[in-house]
């Protein structure tokens, strides 16, 4: 059963056809890579999938449910979580609170219960702390739990963003260049983490990446975008050896 099914997705900005006729099918538990040269439209695909942009045409099915053109919040509730190319953390909040913000829609109490500190506030907050710390432990961030997110080093900020996205309990996790700005060691570690998340949470992951080592190391299937068009699609090894892909990346 496929988790994500996208058919004929497209969007234009004025005269620019940013994404055209984009198809993708991701099976549950798959690690799928979306690659392509700069400006190919990869992040635009993410923005279309998460409701930041409304597609001009096409349909998006998540776990069989139509989520085309829905709002970001609804899409998140339906089960897509993402990270951002340029890290977007809640910098004024602690590391722990960043993850707890991700739990926002999963653990509830009313405003009145919060202000009056009724028993349910304490109960739910305790549960939130527990779950958030569990997630932080996965990313080895539990020691920094009470630091401000802005004080974390770059690599850990990337990890925190993934932890926050996972806190929303998604069916599909979108990672937008998770290894950007990381050194080879950090990238190596990140690959391990991504594999670990996939196994531990039985997560389906779609990721955009430029680092070919990471892509060939962990992605099972790939789609290659160029100028908004799908250039190639299929098993990682095959796609990376496709002459059209090599041309797109390296030139004639």
């Amino acid at each position: 059963m496929s988790i994500l099914e996208v058919k004929n997705l497209g969007i234009s900005f004025g005269g620019l056809r940013a994404v055209d006729n984009f198809d993708i099918t991701i099976e549950k538990g798959q690690l799928y890579g979306l690659i392509g040269p700069n400006g190919a439209g990869k992040t635009t695909v993410f923005n279309l999938l998460t409701g930041v942009y409304k597609p001009s045409e096409g349909i998006v099915l998540l776990d069989g449910k139509d989520i085309t053109g829905k709002k970001t919040i609804e899409i998140n509730k339906a089960g897509i979580a993402r990270t951002f190319q340029n890290i977007r953390l809640f910098k004024g909040l602690t590391v722990l609170d960043n993850v707890k913000a991700g739990l926002h829609n999963h653990l509830h109490y009313t405003t009145i219960e919060g202000i009056l500190r009724l028993p349910r506030y304490h109960k739910v907050e305790k549960e939130m702390n527990k779950r958030a710390l569990e997630l932080l432990e996965v990313f080895e961030l539990e020691k920094e739990a009470e630091q401000l997110a802005s004080n974390l080093p770059y690599g850990k900020q990337r990890k925190l963003e993934i932890a926050r996205a996972l806190a929303t309990d998604p069916k599909l996790l979108l990672l937008d260049e998770p290894a950007a700005g990381m050194n080879p060691n950090e990238t190596q570690e990140l690959m391990k983490t991504i594999r670990f998340i996939k196994d531990k949470f039985d997560m389906t992951i779609l990721l955009i990446e430029h680092d070919m080592k990471l892509v060939s190391g962990i992605c099972e299937e790939l789609s290659v975008l160029n100028f908004g068009q799908t250039l190639a699609q299929g098993e990682t090894g095959q796609v990376l050896n496709d002459p059209r892909v090599i041309t797109a990346y390296l030139g004639e």
Partner: protein, 357 residues
């Protein structure tokens, strides 16, 4: 792993303690007869300003929006509650009960205006929001100035022209008399009630901040797009912060109105100068820092009175103090210096030194 949430509670307790200590000190001075009547007259307004500063800090510091119409919400609260109290002064003879109902009415009225203004306005950001809220404050003040309400044997009469056009019977009584405002509001406020209200305001704001809703509000402040991506409803939480803040400003207005026998909507009390002054309290006290708001509101309200002896130089010194405080709070050099000599650090240094020994 153990979390240091107790640190947060401790910090809040210090803030409550600070307000209670302030009250105790004033009470001691009062009983010793050391407070001039002028200063005594300032005590309730002091509480009003503190409440306003805390509530505005919720919008500016926690929600991250610049609002310049806070005096408008205070004006709504003041007029709604004063109108109620004046109508029911004979009906409800118990001052405490009457004030409590007036308080609820004032806060509710301001909250309703907060929602009405907030829905269209919170789509705007930054400077635009500031300008629209500024205009809103002025509109409210001006409407209050042309509002005529009277009551006679036929019931209530309204007009926004003049008293004559109310067409009242001879037995009619003016309730709101345009620019002359509301006269004869029962003086139900007191310093004690003011301090209690400050504590309630602190309780509401601090607990809101440290809750699920507060987290949502602050996450929107820090990054809208990311907040949306984790499923946080931007409009809802912005509106929540704005409305709670408006309601608390309304409560401050109630306190203010019941401290005066005549309530008028002058530029001095509900105009844009007032909104700016509240913003000055917030900025000087530290954006997002509630205790700082209290301290700066108290200092800056008392300062002009303390300097009265200097007559002509009064406002000059006041403005110099403003500049100095601003530098002390925000300049990088001063922050560095404060860190180096903060009592907390000196203490831990001593401890570390001892451990080495």
């Amino acid at each position: 792993m153990k979390l240091k949430t107790t640190k947060l509670t401790k910090n809040n307790l210090i803030t409550y303690g600070f307000v209670i200590a302030l009250f105790a000190v004033v009470q001691i001075f009062l009983s010793a007869g050391k407070v001039s009547s002028l200063m005594q007259g300032l005590l309730v307004p002091l509480c009003v300003y503190v409440i306003l500063a805390i509530s505005l800090n919720l919008v500016v510091g926690i929600s991250g929006e610049l609002s310049l119409g806070h005096a408008g919400f205070m004006c709504v609260g003041a007029f709604a509650s004063a109108f109620f109290s004046k109508c029911t002064v004979d009906l409800i003879p118990v001052a405490g009960l009457r004030f409590l109902i007036a308080l609820l009415i004032g806060a509710m009225a301001a909250a309703i205006f907060g929602i009405l203004i907030g829905i269209p306005v919170l789509r705007l950001r930054g400077d635009y929001l500031a300008i629209v809220t500024l205009a809103f404050g002025e509109i409210i003040k001006n409407i209050a100035n042309v509002l005529f309400v009277g009551k006679d044997s036929n019931g209530f009469h309204f007009s926004i022209k003049d008293a004559v056009s109310l067409n009242m019977e001879p037995d009619g009584v003016m309730l709101i008399n345009g620019p002359q405002g509301i006269t004869g509001t029962p003086g139900d406020s007191s310093f004690l009630i003011g301090i209690l209200l400050v504590l309630v305001t602190l309780f509401v704001v601090l607990n809101l901040i440290n809750s699920r809703d507060g987290r949502a509000i602050m996450s929107i402040r820090d990054n809208r797009i990311a907040a949306e991506s984790v499923g946080i409803n931007i409009t809802k939480y912005k509106l929540m912060a704005f409305t709670v803040s408006a309601a608390l400003a309304g409560a401050a207005g109630v306190l203010y109105a019941h401290n005066l026998s005549t309530l008028t909507a002058a530029p001095k009390n509900f105009g844009y100068n007032m909104s700016i002054m509240i913003l000055v309290f917030v900025v000087l006290g530290g954006i997002g820092n509630m205790r700082g708001s209290i301290i700066s509101a108290v200092l800056l309200t008392l300062l002009p009175e303390l300097l009265r002896g200097l007559s002509d130089y009064r406002m000059l010194i006041y403005s110099i103090v403003l500049i100095v405080m601003m530098l002390f709070n925000w300049s990088p050099g001063a922050i560095e210096l404060r860190k180096r000599y903060s009592p907390k650090r000196l203490l831990s240094k001593n401890k570390a030194a001892k451990e080495v020994e």
